[in-house]
Amino acid sequence: MLEVSVAGLRLEHPVMNASGILGSEPEHLEILAGYGFSALVSKTITLKPREGYPPPIIVELRNKGLLNAVGLANPGVEAIGGLAKAARRLGKPLVLSIGGGGIDEFVKLAEAASEAGVDAVELNLSCPHARGYGLELGGDPALVYTIVKNTVSVSSAPVVAKLGLSDRIMESAGKALEGGAKALTLINTVKAMAIDVYSRKPVLSNKHGGLSGPPIHPIAVRVVYDVYREYRAEVIGVGGVSSWIDAAELILAGARAIQVGTAVLFNEKVVEEINKGLREWVSTLGYRRLEELVGTAVE
């Protein structure tokens, strides 16, 4: 009932993890598999290893959101082989997220991922706090086009473009599809900040961070809705999903699959709960397959 296919991947159910929740080491993939995700998404991998920012890198907010600036800590391109092997051993499709400061970096990473036999490549065009690694890219439709087109041309695995909130999200989405992206992952975290009112300092070492979790869910719904309405593209919806009802909203807005990040940190059973809720929902509405409901809130 819950099987979906997206970007050529056939998934048992629609819930994968969001990039950056673990996923930089083979051992992390084992933990993610244990949470029940239908596909495993790696942490964004860059060409060179990155230490990331010193702690604090994450802070839980009063509004139930999470603010993070991890700084794309990752072991670099050499780690891709080990991740691919681990995913195979675990019997789960691997979506390898890659990020880079420029076109070349994306291309080299896509080649490496493709050679390692990953099941899909997700281009992180949208990390809102690692300078030169993100939002600037996703907010520039011409650059999105070039990066997508060039990675697609070297990758035997399907390419998914991950875009964040931006004034030009509609154009960027269009350009990503034009460049050959099989699907779009929407959205990344939203740029934000938390200040400790007694010490009077921004809490994160990087000062700025990305907001995730329940606060951004209605923003994700609107972006997915708008993009799906315009392009009827394959979309992976992400942003603040912590219950089946959040997932269902994104599916109705046009998402064929869902990613969950923040919520799994607070509830290890969230994948199971989402799927249980979705199953009941599909049958309450009198449908046989979840996929039939994709985008049905969009006229």
Partner: protein, 255 residues
Amino acid sequence: MYTPAKVVSTERLSSSMYMKKVKLLDGDTVEPKPFQFILIWVPGVDLLPMSVAGFTSGEITLVVRERGEGTRKLLHYDGFLGVSGFHGKGFEPWGYRRILFVAGGSGIAPFFHLAEKAWEKDIVVDVVWGVREAGELFNPARLLGKPRGDVYVATEDCRVGYCGRASHLASRLVAGNPGKWDAVIASGPIGLLREACGSLGGFLDVYVNLEAYVKCGVGACGSCVLKPHGLLLCRHGPVFKCSEVEEFLKGGTGA
């Protein structure tokens, strides 16, 4: 959750160890479980994982050993700071009657909170505490409401108590008192933990309180992964059965 806090007091306990009390500036905090830990943020400076050594109505007691830059700054800092937690799932060994806690150096920190909580449940926790130099010692009763069990001391400089390592003393105590304890919890340098698992595992249930590089504390960044196991210290720990982390203990370096 992130909570602003302020330093209440910092007191030197021995040549290298301090007791630091911080008060959470946000009323409604849940009670931490034994072995849960906090991440303590010295604003703009560093973030350090620290065990809860005591907790009363929003005031947390820490036992801190000065190690490097981070702990030194924490110890000298006297203003407002940030606390997140309580991290880890902690460990409540309430199925046992009498427990031997084997501590090396600042590994003793979580003992105090454990002993208090255990006492409320009629469980006795005795402690073997080893340090390198006698000057590092302080009287554990300082941090307990009243004496809660037996205290055995070991020093490697042989100036006080047993001459040698805590793990050796623990082995002797266990061998010499069969049936006295039904579990051991070892806490401190990885060498101590390895020895505890190796020499005591045959007799009774042995647990180890691990350390790892904690960056986020919530299971997101993966830096505290206990390779090659699919285990995170900040989610699944910090206390494990020896058998769960066998490969990690083999791989770890340090005395």
